[in-house]
Each structure stands twice: as C-alpha cells, then as structure tokens.
Assembly symmetry: C2
Homo-oligomer: 248 residues x 2
Amino acid sequence: MDGIASLITIDRFSPVPLYFQVATTLEDLIESGQLPAGSRLDTEVTLADRLGLSRPTMRQAIQTLVDKGLVVRKRGVGTQVVHSAVRRKVELTSLDDDLRRANREPRTQVLAFSVAPAPEPIRAALHLEPGTEVFTIERLRFADDEPLALMHNHLPRAVAPGLTAAQLGERGLYQVLREHGVQLRIADQTIGARRATTAEARLLGEGRGAPLLTMQRTAYDHAGRAVEFGSHVYRADRYSFEVSLVAR
Amino acid sequence: MDGIASLITIDRFSPVPLYFQVATTLEDLIESGQLPAGSRLDTEVTLADRLGLSRPTMRQAIQTLVDKGLVVRKRGVGTQVVHSAVRRKVELTSLDDDLRRANREPRTQVLAFSVAPAPEPIRAALHLEPGTEVFTIERLRFADDEPLALMHNHLPRAVAPGLTAAQLGERGLYQVLREHGVQLRIADQTIGARRATTAEARLLGEGRGAPLLTMQRTAYDHAGRAVEFGSHVYRADRYSFEVSLVAR
DNA sequence: CAGTGGTCTAGACCACCTT
DNA sequence: AGGTGGTCTAGACCACTGA
C-alpha cells in the first residue's frame, strides 16, 4: 500500500511549478471521488518522499487545497478531505458565466454605448482623475429569451480601448475584458432589493412595483486598479446570488 | 534610510510566529497610512536581512498580506501597497457584528426556541443523520428600535448543547457560538428578494407586498462540519449585503 | 545588465495529538 | 512515546522587469 502517491505524476521539465502540478492533481482526485470525503491523506513527509519532492514544496501544494477549503490540516493528526458539501468555489463570476454554466441561453440587447468624461459618482467609484474618459454601457440581458436583468456598466476607456458595442452583443462583459487581457482579482459588491420603477418593469416584463434584486459592484485587477463599476437590477423571481465565504 | 524595517520589532521569545508578528505589524502600518497606497515595500531579501529573518519567513509574512489583497507583488518590480479603496475585508459576518460595528443598537426578540429531530429539509441542508436533534430558533431583530430582520436558524444540538433562549436575547447567534468554542470557516449563502407575506410585513412594520431581501446560509466549522442553517428576511429599505470577493 | 519576486531543496526544532 | 503538522533556516537557480 503506497497510498495515493502512485496516482500522482510530476513533470520536472514542465514550466508548471511542481507544487501546482501536485495541487491540481490532488484536486482532481478529490473531485473525482478517488479521495473520498473524510479520507486521510498520507503525511506531508511521506508524500514528499514518494514524489521525490522536498517537504516545503509538498506543503505548498497542500496549502493551496487548504485555502480552497478542500482539506483540513490538524497538527498531530493529519490532513483530511472535508465533507463533500462544503466544497464550493469562491469565484468572481459574471452573469454571463453563470448562465452558460447553467446551460441557459444568454442573449444581450445593448441599449446604450458611449464614451465620455466620467460623471462625478462614477469617477469617485472608480477612483479616477477628473476628466478621465469612461465607457457607459446599458444592457438588457435575457436567459432563454426571458428578460432577466438590466445592467449599467462604466469602465475607463484605457482599460479596454478597442471595446465595441458589437462585442458586448455577443459575449459577457467579463469575457470581453479577459480577451483584452484584463484579469480581475477583487470585487466589492453591495446587494440589496427594491421595487421596480415603471420603466424597469416594462423592460423586464414584470408587473408594477415588482421586487427586484439590486447589485452594485466595483471590480479591481491584479494591480489594484479599478476596472469596472456596475449597477444592475435583476428579476427577483428568476435570479439569486450564491456567495461562498471562507474565513482566513 | 533604512526603509520601514526600523518600524518593525519582532520578539523571538513570543509564542506568536515570526511571520505573523511581521504580517500584523505591516498590516497596521498600511492601515495607519505609514505605508501609503502605492508605496513600495523594501525587497524581500532586504527586509529579511534587516529583521534578522530568513527570506522564506519574510515571504510568508508578505504572502498573508497578498492573500488579504493589501499588497501586490510583481516579479522584477517589487511589492506595492494597493489603492486604499481596494482594501475591504472578506469576512464571515453576522448581522449582530454588522450592527455593532455601525454603532447601531441591536435588539433581539426571541419568537420561538425549541429542540426536536430535524425536519427533512433542515436535515439535508446540515448533512445530518436522520433523527439528529436540532435547535429551531426564530428571532426578530431590531436596530435602533426599528424592526430589521426576521431570522430562522437551525443548528445541531451537539454543536452548542447548553444553548438557551436567554443567551440569544442578549447577543448574536454567532457570538454565542464563539463562546461555545465554535469557529466558523466557510459559509454558503444564497441571496434573493421577494415580496413580504402579510405576517412578515406585520412583524417588520412594512406595508403589504413590500420588497424583502432574503438570505439562506449554511455555515461550516474548521473541520468541515455543518454548524448552522439559517433562512432570513431583511427589510430592503434598511439593509443590504456587502460582499468582497478575491480571486485566487 | 542588475535587481526583483517565484520556486525549490535539505535539513532542523517545536507544539500538539493519539496511544 | 511516537507521529503529525507548524515554523524556521540558509542557501540555490530561475523568469521576468526595467534601465
């Protein structure tokens, strides 16, 4: 019995860091059930030895799984795979990502698309210098041909200089940003609720005063630069937010 | 000029890990503005040298700040403090914590408190064996004497065997759990909205059909054990959720 | 080219848990 | 008492950035 080490192969000539190769392999083994919930991993020293790695490298691999909440370490005891239901991903998701993952057909109607110096509240939300030009985008989003959300976005022109309305008709904003090389890292969101205005109700196909879910979000990239500010309303009867929080 | 190293003292005889001493000190320096947004930290090697630490230990200290989104590392460049507005804490907060932090006076009316074998949906949400006994708690929460939220909670009796209704009248559930030695680590939340029922509107002092924010949460401790399931409604005109997400 | 962070090694001692 | 993860050291080489 050599534990799980035989299921892990590492490539010393790959540009992928060793700890990352091990971490992703272990993640797959957990995800596929070959490392069932509650099972114990071999010790760090044993695994490092069997894989021909140093213990710090092995530790770094396991640490990434701890950070994701996949396993739990206990001093004097060992490392255990946590209960399966606890495994949720903490992700920076977009509506478009959510819909595609749920196999619902997203569609977008771009209601407005313009470039202008940032109005004061937007300038402040994005921490920009006065006069900085921003895109202003208004979109109506559909899922399976039902209206779902009305979205207002603002982003500095410099973030995605070549952005066009046509791109946004095809794909979600976050995917377009990824194609422009923008990597989001942090998002601050405020989620609330209120009654729909008459105009909102008409666009979303809801009755007057229907409850709407609201979300304001400011997103930042890896360098801490504010990339996007959005103010959105969602039909409460067709959408809800799922959030996973991991304490540090 | 010896940078910031002179502002950091470490205690080799403290039981607090060295990397943690350094990390918290740096965090304080950033929070207090002595390390302003955009400023560069000394290099890892320099800091380690000045503080008499090895580089891996110094790296570990800085890494905790990176995980919190306080600083950004760039290979070949250095480590920079990110823009101040990006600094938000990702926390597992309770309503009680939120209110106390905002200096609003929380008050609780316990409407129901009982112990019984878990009903099926609760049993499933908490991943319990059939027949496991759970507390069922219903509370009306006030802030500054205005009704704010109606909260239903369920938790396994074994999690906090000595729990009483009186404790919940004084403090928030999460604080009571902390006093019982329960450390929460992960929470999965679903946030939505709907119209208030007649009973909810009456309890919350709202009009009929007023929009409410809804939240269902399952919380897990460090061992991955499901500790609590809650189903809550909040007055949308007086409450909203703030969530910060950090991509990994 | 020099300097930075990213990765990796081969040890060591300790605190904590189980037996 | 023996085994576990938690911390720490003193090096090494590499990839990337900027001047």
